[in-house]
Assembly symmetry: C2
Homo-oligomer: 256 residues x 2
């Protein structure tokens, strides 16, 4: 009899959500005092529906202006609203630049951040003589013709487990800068769009954008592939290129 839960015990469900958002108008993922963020927009909406305080755990932060195709997050709730209805309810209250694409009940042990095995980011570079009007919020416009084969050679050098201090944002608070890059890819789409994809077990703050900024220097032939290797091994942020702007970056997938 002792093993039976008492009737007044609250059963907390662990809910996993998959999100798409246009980061253009947000101050990033992470809740903050000034400015609207994705996290607090979601929390407000879910609280309205479940009628209880909720804390959403994201797989990681995205910066202001950065987009997500499949961000993953989870939260605990005592609400008994059926998953499909919960998803519909949340989507009906969310602004139209955020949407829940999937919602399911998962094991207690699932944690959007700690359970993640890897994350995949892609970055879009619009490499054309004139800027783009339609993709201004969804790509980085680079005027100079980029040498794709040099960029491909350079980005391949990132694969493996190493200290990525050279590509670490100045405000990064991680004590350990060792990460494992599992896969990289660079593709030309249409005439003028270059899409760089990077999968790693984790990313330092601004890591993708700092890699892209440096990679574009390689594409412009301002930096050799050897120079790129030297930057990786220097473990010094000051040696690398600029931080590429946020609007080209998309969190594409989180793998568990």
């Amino acid at each position: 009899m002792e093993d039976q839960p008492s009737l007044c015990q609250v059963v907390m469900r662990n809910i996993k959500i998959i999100l798409e958002y246009d980061g253009t108008l947000y101050c990033g993922w992470q809740r903050q005092a000034n400015g609207t963020t994705i996290q607090q927009t979601l929390e407000c909406v879910i609280q309205r529906i479940t009628q209880e305080k909720v804390v959403i755990i994201g797989s990681g932060r995205t910066d202001a202006g950065v987009h997500a195709l499949n961000q993953v997050a989870n939260f605990l709730t005592s609400s008994s609203i059926e998953c499909y209805n919960l998803m519909r309810g949340i989507n009906s209250l969310l602004p139209d630049d955020i949407v829940v694409k999937g919602l399911s009940e998962v094991d207690d042990r699932f944690h959007a951040r700690y359970s993640a095995k890897s994350k995949v980011y892609c970055y879009r570079i619009c490499n054309s003589r004139v800027r783009t009007a339609l993709l201004k919020n969804y790509s980085w416009h680079v005027y100079e013709v980029l040498d794709l084969s040099h960029m491909e050679e350079a980005i391949g050098l990132l694969i493996g487990t190493r200290d990525f201090s050279s590509f670490c944002g100045s405000n990064d608070d991680a004590s350990d800068h060792v990460r494992t890059v599992m896969a990289v890819d660079i593709q030309k789409k249409r005439d003028d769009m270059i899409v760089v994809t990077i999968e790693a077990d984790g990313f330092l703050r601004h890591m993708v954008r700092n890699i892209i900024g440096t990679l574009v220097d390689v594409g412009k032939r301002k930096l050799s592939v050897l120079g790129f290797t030297e930057i990786i091994t220097a473990l010094d942020r000051a040696k690398a290129g600029i931080t590429a702007p946020p609007q080209g970056l998309f969190l594409k997938e989180v793998r568990y």
Copy 2:
């Protein structure tokens, strides 16, 4: 001697421009008293640069929220600014959701509207269970699963020269509703994006959007392919489907 132009005669150059714009924030192409339009934004900028009154002729109007990948326009100017510098100057003053992709001096007889042989529009339908956050301004979200083969069969029936009164906007001021549809295409991109392309020698007001609204009824199997034929021959706007929303529509090309 009489044939020689006098030195004080003003030589007017006819300038052709190719434009890309994101129509989201504009009240369409056409200059109007209330609200910002693409045409007046361009005219203001060109007037600032050439220091003279200018009238821009577009290949045709686009509605509020409709985008252009390659809209064509022309204007006359006595300015002697070299084409490349003129384009750079205009782009430096235009807002970032409008860009001149090409600028050249053309024959006096070139008229962006009257010289056009055909126009190509494409329309993007996001056919997914949940709405899209990233493409909300660049597609029409349709929830119900669409039958592509039925839509393909129906759209093929539009090819040819006929009276398109059934797909004509209520405010259309064209006296003649006969147009020639030269080519149509329907493609599925990725999992959930349907792109419909229509080329015609001219389009009535709202014609593409009315065709798409009706075509989506065919895709939903609310309307048969035979029913679609009957709508074409009815010459009655009231028989056709809804006007699809503007944000899915792109003026892709103007052919001369």
